[in-house]
């Protein structure tokens, strides 16, 4: 290596005229195993002290623990949930199923009344009559309807 160049760089270094790149050239030069004896004293200026000035892993652990402690109350919010509260969705589902079964059963009932025998049908007719008796307005309407049908039926004869 050209030592003249290093000497020039050193001169510029002292005058704060070197660039970062030139300073890094000086650093790598003075960290070499073999350099001229007259330059040996300057080695100390570029000694690698960084590797001996470090914080251990226990420092990281301590910091992360401190941060974790601070963050914990914000993130983890324990809430007590009672058994009834926890079962709520289940209760809701059960209620919905019960409603569906009730309505379904009620809808199913009329189809179950299959008039297998004339007696059954007669009983059904009887029920209808009793309903008509209970509500006279409806019965009246029915008779009105009967009248209008009779009129309609008479017309084509004219």
């Amino acid at each position: 290596m050209d030592y003249k160049y290093i000497e020039q760089l050193m001169e510029r270094y002292w005058n704060a005229e070197t660039t970062l790149e030139e300073e890094s050239i000086l650093r790598s030069f003075f960290r070499q195993e073999n350099i001229p004896a007259e330059m040996e004293p300057l080695r100390a200026l570029f000694a690698d002290e960084a590797s001996s000035q470090q914080l251990g892993d226990d420092f990281d652990a301590r910091i992360l623990e401190m941060i974790g402690k601070e963050e914990a109350p914000k993130v983890v919010k324990a809430r007590e949930v009672s058994l009834t509260r926890r079962m709520m969705p289940l209760f809701k589902a059960a209620a919905v199923i019960a409603i569906i079964l009730t309505i379904g059963g009620a809808l199913q009932a009329p189809w179950d009344n299959n008039w297998n025998t004339p007696q059954d049908y007669a009983r059904f007719q009887q029920d209808l009559d009793s309903v008509a008796a209970v509500s006279p307005i409806q019965a009246e309407n029915m008779s009105d309807n009967a009248d209008s049908t009779s009129i309609l039926m008479e017309r084509p004869k004219n």
Partner: protein, 165 residues
């Protein structure tokens, strides 16, 4: 996205060296780095707006170090507990090794005798390889002032170093 574990925690050694250069005390320097980390963590809502998180951390670290030094001066605490790291031996024979380690010790003392601003500038430039612009941001001074501080620091070291050789 700035992450504490990947972007900030790994700065610990760089912060530690600056704190060490200013406080000249290993235990105090470690305290400073811890305080810096907590302070930066507490301002995590601002991370995304910060241009350089590294410069931001170094600025906080320097300010906390200066506070520490002021408090230490008030307590008239001696610097007997000053840090004395193991020297990096480069030379091969024991005699040269001893001389070399003496010289490293000498350089360290010479730098430590400089005014704080010169010391911090020199630390960031020569040890951490920072540009004048970055140092100016960290120390909140102009680039010209950084250059002047580095010039004076190197001139002083040169003069004193010559006497010991």
């Amino acid at each position: 996205m700035v992450s504490f574990q990947t972007d900030i925690l790994p700065l610990k050694n760089e912060l530690y060296r600056l704190a060490l250069r200013i406080t000249m005390n290993a235990a105090e320097a470690e305290d400073v780095v811890q305080e810096t980390m907590m302070k930066v963590w507490n301002r995590r809502d601002q991370w995304e707006q910060i241009e350089s998180i590294e410069a931001f951390c170094l600025t906080i670290c320097r300010n906390l170090s200066l506070d520490k030094v002021r408090r230490m001066d008030n307590q008239t605490q001696s610097l007997d507990a000053a840090y004395d790291p193991k020297d990096q031996h480069v030379a091969s024979n024991p005699e040269e090794q001893a001389i070399q380690s003496d010289r490293i010790q000498l350089v360290r003392e010479l730098i430590n005798q400089l005014p704080e601003k010169q010391r911090s500038c020199m630390q960031l430039r020569d040890m951490e390889g920072k540009s004048y612009k970055d140092i100016a941001t960290i120390l909140d001074i102009t680039e010209e002032q950084v250059k002047v501080n580095i010039f004076r620091a190197r001139q002083t070291i040169r003069e004193k170093f010559k006497k010991f050789l």
